[in-house]
C-alpha cells in the first residue's frame, strides 16, 4: 500500500529551483533514505511534506489525502511526525512538556473543559502524561523529565526530539539527519534504535542522512538528489555502484 505519494513536485525560492520533478512512492512499512550533497533540496522536501512550504507545483498525498494546501498542524494531525536537522526543541520547557505538547491534536477536550478542568480534561490529561512518561522511559530520559530541554547534552536532545515526534503517534516518521554530530559508535546504536522503533511503533520512515554507513546499513530504498533533481533511486547496492551518484559525490565523501 502506498502511504506517501509525491508527483511532479516542484518548489521555487524566488528564482532558485530547490526541488524539481520530484516523485516519490513510499510504501507502508518501508524505510527509505534520501541522500545528496549540501543544498540538494532534501530538507525542503520534508518542509513541503509537512506544510512549512507550499509546493509551487505538484501534489503530495498521504493515504490518499492531498497535503498541499493544508497547514502544518493539520498535516501533523494526520499522523506525520518529524525531527529537524538543527534541533528545534522547546528549549525553555521541560523534557516532559516537550513531549506533552506534541499530544495537542490527540487531546480530545474542548476549551470549556480546559477552562473548568472538567469532563474529558481529566482523563485525557492523565492519558497524555502516562504516554509522555512512557516515551521518555523508552528513550531512557525519564530521570530527566523535569530538566529543561536546553540543559540536556546534545545526544539526549536528539533523542528527546525523536520521542517528541513519536508523541504524535505517527504512521510516517521523517528524520532529518538523525546521526548528525554522532561518533561511529553512537551511529551504530542509532541504527539499532531506528530499527527497533520502526517495529515497535509500526512506522514508515523517510530519513535524510549524510552518514553513508547508516543509510546503506538500514534503508531499503535510497533516493539521491542533486541540485533539486532526482539523480537515482533504488536499493543500497545499486545506488552504491551508480556512476552518476559516484560522480555527484566525487570529492565529497567516499560511498560505502
Amino acid at each position: 500500500m502506498t502511504l506517501l505519494e509525491a508527483t511532479q513536485v516542484r518548489h521555487l525560492f524566488g528564482g532558485l529551483c530547490a526541488v524539481a520533478d520530484f516523485n516519490l512512492d513510499l510504501q507502508a512499512g518501508q524505510l527509505m533514505g534520501i541522500i545528496g550533497p549540501n543544498g540538494a533540496g532534501k530538507t525542503t522536501i520534508f518542509n513541503l511534506i509537512t506544510g512549512v512550504y507550499q509546493a509551487t507545483e505538484g501534489s503530495i498525498r498521504f493515504k490518499g489525502t492531498e497535503l498541499v494546501g493544508l497547514t502544518p498542524h493539520q498535516i501533523t494531525a494526520l499522523r506525520i511526525g518529524r525531527t529537524f536537522q538543527n534541533i528545534r526543541l522547546f528549549r525553555d520547557l521541560s523534557a516532559l512538556d516537550n513531549v506533552r505538547i506534541a499530544h495537542y491534536a490527540q487531546a480530545d477536550y474542548s476549551p470549556l473543559e480546559a477552562l473548568l478542568h472538567i469532563g474529558r480534561y481529566r482523563r485525557e490529561e492523565q492519558r497524555i502524561i502516562d504516554n509522555s512518561r512512557r516515551l521518555l522511559a523508552i528513550f531512557k530520559l525519564e530521570h530527566l523529565a523535569g530538566e529543561m530541554a536546553k540543559n540536556l547534552p546534545y545526544g539526549l536532545q536528539r533523542r528527546l526530539e525523536i520521542a517528541r515526534a513519536l508523541a504524535i503517534d505517527p504512521e510516517l516518521l521523517l528524520l532529518d539527519e538523525p546521526a548528525a554530530g554522532m561518533n561511529p559508535n553512537e551511529i551504530d546504536q542509532l541504527m539499532e534504535f531506528i530499527q527497533w522503533i520502526r517495529t515497535e511503533f509500526k512506522l514508515t520512515i523517510l530519513l535524510i542522512e549524510h552518514q553513508m554507513k547508516l543509510v546503506m546499513g538500514i534503508c531499503e530504498r535510497i533516493k539521491v538528489l542533486d541540485f533539486g533533481e532526482t539523480l537515482a533511486e533504488g536499493p543500497p547496492l545499486a545506488i552504491q555502484n551508480d556512476p552518476k551518484v559516484l560522480e555527484a559525490y566525487l570529492g565529497q565523501e567516499s560511498v560505502g
Partner: protein, 365 residues
C-alpha cells in the same frame, strides 16, 4: 532541620483541603470585613484595588508572559468592559434589580471585551514582536478616541454617577474566578500550546498545535478578564472617562506583570499586591502623613517639594521602574516559577520518578 521543615511545608501544601479551606476563609473575611468594619474604609478600598489589579496582571501575563508577546492593549479591553457594564447598570438594567443583575453586567463587560480581543488576535497570526506591540498600542488609541467621539456615552467627559456596586465580596469572587480560569487554561493543552508558541511557533505547528486557535483563545481569555476588571473598576470609582484607560494604565499593569515575574500566576498576584500597596504609600496624602510623623529626619522644604510634586514624579518614576525591572530583574519576584499550590496535582505528580523496566536496544546501560 530545614529539610524537615520543607517536607512538612510541602506536605501541608499537598493537602487537597488546603485551597478550598483558604478560599472559604477568604470569602468569610470578604463578607465580614465590610459588614463589621474590621478594617477601615480606606484599607478596604485598597484591598478592592488589589483584587482588580490581580485580575489585570494575571490576565496580561497570559499574553505577555506565557505567550511572550508584548501587548499594550490591556487598558483598552478594560475600558470596553467598564463602559459596557456601566451603560448596562445605568441605562438598561432596572434599578431594583441591581444586586442580582450586577454580576451579569460584569460578565457582559467581560464578554464584549473578549470579542474585542479577537480583533487583536487576528494580526497576531501574521505579526509578532515589536510590530504586534505597535498594533496593540494602535488598538488602545483607537478605543480611546472612539469613546471620546461617541456623545451618547459622554465623549471625553466620561460617565459620572455610576452606582457603587462593587463590593469586597464581589471583588474576591471575580478575582478567584478569573485567576482560577487562567490557571486552568495554563495547565491544559491550550496553555502548553501558548508556551510552545513562545518557544518556537513553527515547531509548535509541526507538533500538531493549532497555533491560530490557541492564540484566539489566549487573547480572548486575557481580554475577557481585563473586561471583568474594568467593569468592577467602573463600579468602584463611580466615574469613568477615556483618560482613565490610557497608556499609563497599561504601563501600571505591565510593571505589575514584570515585577511579579513572567509566566507565573503566583508572581502576578505578588506583583499586583506589592505594586498597588507601594503606589498607595507614594500617594501625596500618605507621604504627608509619613513626613509629619518623622518631622526632624528630612529637611522640611524638601518634604514639601516631594509631597507637592509626587503626582508629576510618579509619571517619571513608573516608566523608569518598568525599564529597570525589565533590564536588571527580568525574572521578577518569581518569573517562570509557580506556587506549588497553584500547580494541579496531576501535573506535579507527572515529574515523580518511576523506574518502569523498558527494554530498548542500542541504549543498554
Amino acid at each position: 532541620m530545614s529539610a524537615v521543615l520543607k517536607d512538612a511545608w510541602n506536605g501541608l501544601l499537598d493537602q487537597a483541603w488546603l485551597v478550598p479551606a483558604l478560599l472559604l476563609i477568604g470569602f468569610g473575611l470578604a463578607f465580614a470585613i465590610p459588614e463589621y468594619n474590621l478594617l477601615n474604609k480606606y484599607i478596604q478600598l485598597v484591598l478592592m484595588y488589589i483584587g482588580i489589579n490581580i485580575i489585570l496582571t494575571v490576565s496580561l501575563n497570559l499574553v505577555n508572559g506565557y505567550m511572550g508577546e508584548f501587548s499594550l492593549a490591556h487598558a483598552g479591553f478594560m475600558a470596553v468592559g467598564a463602559y459596557t457594564a456601566a451603560l448596562l447598570t445605568m441605562k438598561v438594567l432596572p434599578v431594583a434589580a441591581y444586586p442580582v443583575l450586577f454580576p451579569l453586567a460584569v460578565l457582559a463587560g467581560g464578554i464584549v471585551a473578549a470579542i474585542m480581543g479577537l480583533i487583536v488576535a487576528v494580526p497576531s497570526f501574521k505579526i509578532r514582536g515589536d510590530y504586534l506591540a505597535i498594533i496593540t498600542l494602535a488598538f488602545l488609541m483607537i478605543v480611546k478616541s472612539a469613546i471620546e467621539n461617541i456623545d451618547y456615552i459622554g465623549g471625553p467627559r466620561g460617565i459620572p454617577g455610576i452606582k457603587r456596586l462593587t463590593t469586597l465580596p464581589w471583588v474576591f469572587f471575580w478575582t478567584v474566578a478569573t485567576v482560577w480560569m487562567i490557571r486552568n487554561f495554563v495547565y491544559s493543552k491550550y496553555g502548553r500550546g501558548v508556551l510552545a508558541i513562545r518557544e518556537d511557533e513553527i515547531a509548535s505547528d509541526l507538533m500538531s498545535v493549532n497555533t491560530k486557535r490557541v492564540k484566539f483563545l489566549a487573547f480572548m481569555l486575557s481580554s475577557f478578564c481585563a473586561g471583568i476588571a474594568g467593569a468592577l473598576f467602573a463600579h468602584l470609582l463611580q466615574f469613568i472617562s477615556p483618560r482613565v484607560f490610557d497608556i499609563i494604565k497599561t504601563t501600571d499593569v505591565l510593571i505589575m506583570v514584570y515585577l511579579g515575574g513572567i509566566a507565573s500566576i503566583g508572581g502576578s498576584i505578588l506583583g499586583a499586591t506589592a505594586y498597588t500597596a507601594l503606589m498607595e504609600v507614594l500617594r501625596p496624602s500618605t507621604m504627608a502623613a509619613l513626613f509629619n510623623w518623622l518631622p526632624d529626619l528630612i529637611f522640611d522644604p524638601l518634604n514639601q517639594y516631594i509631597i507637592q510634586n509626587l503626582g508629576v514624579w510618579r509619571m517619571v518614576i513608573m516608566p523608569l521602574l518598568l525599564v529597570l525591572v525589565m533590564l536588571y530583574w527580568p525574572r521578577g519576584m518569581m518569573g517562570q516559577r509557580e506556587f506549588r499550590g497553584f500547580i494541579p496535582r496531576r501535573d506535579r505528580d507527572a515529574y515523580r520518578r518511576i523506574n518502569a523496566p523498558v527494554n530498548a536496544p542500542g541504549e543498554k546501560p
